[in-house]
């Protein structure tokens, strides 16, 4: 037989016929109705349907309110979380304006740069070395036109080991190969200046003087000092300098050309960590336009870094600091700037050692000795002087060796 459907089962259940109960049943039951129930006992009041309905509505409403509140709190928390996950660029927390003198009037005697040095740099002879430089800029000498490419970044990856190698060569009596010489590292080695304590996270100081590489008064060197005053590492730091095209005609960085590209045109700011209390120095040579005003910034330095985060912090913050560098009334350059200029010149000489003459070394030594009294970093100055003397000696030996070889060949 087939399986019964629900309807059939219901029908069977309903139609289950039952005879009438016997008549005596109800009498028996009524007889057994007790007499002993205490009168006045009321049954418990049962909640009427209407009240139950109201209670149900109240319960639903309560659940709804809790749900809405919970959703709102969840949205608020998730929004805060999402916001923190994004990189937050804070407004500049340090707005240091360098009030140090940037430019000074050129004093030809103090610079010690002769016309012949310009010639030795392989430039065209001309009455005006500045014009010669102008003709050569930008590709051959690394000068970049500010109106074309105002931004420059210098490499923060200063490796002290490179200078140690150079020094090692000289101390062992050998002139270091040219490709080993990195002028920015020599500059940074000798520019551990004692800077005052600052409340800001970074110290930036800029100073300018006439360029030691040319007698053209429109060429200046710009020394930029930075020090990390954070008590922790400034991670992924990068520096970019944007020159003001209305003030600067051309610029170049002394020593730290872009090694990857080779011409300094497409420099991508490289990032690295700056240790706590670490100082960095960069030197630029700039050619200024003839007409400039004191309120015109020569350049703006932009420093970007991420403070070191704790293990709990999963958010990367980026701090961006802008340091506008202004042209101020000139005054005598500080001993630090003088020293930096000398070091930059020495680095340049070392790189083009074949073109350097004895009197160039002598001139450098004279200038260095003149700073002994004023410069605070006397040990650095002494080390520098010894290095220049050793290099001069090597140059002399190399020249003598070459002369001896030539005379042997002639014989």
């Amino acid at each position: 037989m087939r399986r019964l459907t629900k309807r059939e089962i219901k029908a069977w259940l309903r139609k289950w016929s039952v005879p009438e109960p016997p008549e005596g049943l109800v009498e028996k039951i009524r007889k057994e109705i007790p007499e002993g129930l205490s009168p006045g006992i009321k049954r418990k009041d049962y909640l009427p349907m209407k009240a139950r309905g109201i209670r149900l509505i109240w319960q639903v409403a309560t659940c709804l309110v809790i749900f809405i509140l919970g959703t709102a709190i969840g949205v608020l928390i998730s929004q805060k979380f999402v916001t923190e996950r994004l990189s937050i660029r804070q407004t500049p927390i340090n707005q240091l304006t360098s009030k140090e003198p940037v430019i000074r009037q050129p004093v030809p005697d103090q610079n010690g740069v002769s016309h012949s040095e310009v010639q030795q740099r392989g430039l065209q002879k001309s009455e005006s070395p500045g014009e010669a430089l102008l003709q050569q800029a930008p590709q051959t000498e690394g000068f970049v036109q500010a109106s074309v490419k105002p931004r420059s970044s210098f490499d923060l990856d200063i490796q002290p080991a490179a200078f140690d190698l150079v020094k090692d060569h000289i101390e062992k009596g050998k002139l270091p190969p040219s490709d080993l010489i990195r002028p920015e590292e020599i500059i940074n080695h000798f520019n551990r200046e004692d800077v005052p304590v600052e409340e800001n996270d970074f110290y930036v100081r800029a100073e300018g003087a006439s360029s030691p590489f040319t007698s053209d008064s429109s060429y200046k060197i710009l020394k930029i000092n930075m020090r990390n005053y954070l008590r922790a590492v400034a991670k992924d730091a990068s520096v970019e300098i944007e020159f003001n095209p209305s003030v600067v005609d051309y610029y170049r960085m002394v020593g730290a050309e872009d090694r990857e590209k080779g011409n300094g045109m497409d420099i991508v700011p490289r990032k690295r960590d700056i240790r706590a209390n670490e100082a960095l120095t960069a030197i630029y040579e700039v050619k200024l336009k003839p007409e400039l005003l004191p309120e015109d910034p020569v350049a703006t330095l932009k420093l970007e870094y991420s403070p070191a985060s704790t293990e709990k912090e999963k958010v990367k913050k980026i701090h961006t600091i802008h340091f506008p560098l202004y042209v101020l009334p000139e005054r005598k350059p500080s001993p630090d700037l003088e020293f930096a200029a000398m070091v930059a010149k020495y680095a340049q000489m070392l790189k083009e050692i074949q073109n350097v003459r004895e009197e160039d070394f002598q001139s450098l030594l004279d200038r260095a000795k003149s700073l002994v009294r004023d410069i605070p970093q006397k040990n650095d100055l002494e080390e520098f002087i010894q290095l220049v003397k050793a290099t001069e000696k090597l140059k002399k030996e190399a020249r003598d060796e070459k002369a001896g070889l030539e005379s042997t060949i002639q014989r």
């Binding site: 049943l25 109705i33 007790p34």
Partner: protein, 188 residues
Amino acid sequence: MTQGRKLNMSEEQELLNSFMDGDRKAAEDLVNRTYKSIYTFLYRLCRDDENLALDLTQETYQKAWKALREFDGRSKFSTWLYRIAYNTFLNYARHPLRVVSIDDKARSAPICLDEGQEARMMEHEMKENLRQAVLNLPDELRFAITARYWGELSVQDIARMEQVSVVAVRRRMRRALKSIARYCEGRR
């Protein structure tokens, strides 16, 4: 004797309150209006055993008077009475000797008497299968199906009695019918 239509909840409440106030007639009225349903319900459960159904009906009311103080009015009185009747039957089913009488005709279950009529035999067999199927149900399903189809209680009354939702009662009934169908199919 007042018989006839079923009482609604408020009418039952009034009679109960009157009875609790000492009015015996109110109790008699309650009995008159409910005993037939209780008997019918138990009759089907007891395999058409009239005597057994009578005994259990009496026992049901005896228990009801004793437990009247504990009746909280959450459900109708008649519904509450059905629950007592159902439990009374279960007690019997677990301890059948308690209510066996000496000349118990019900012990010889009413099997088909008319041997020549196949339809009656089949009907009887069907009823027996159904009964067994119902008795084999889990307790919550069994009460729901018997109260609904044998006690003629409404789904709302059953829900109130069992303190569950109407949806839950309907769900139980669906499951019960499915089980019954499966059981009957298996018995063939």
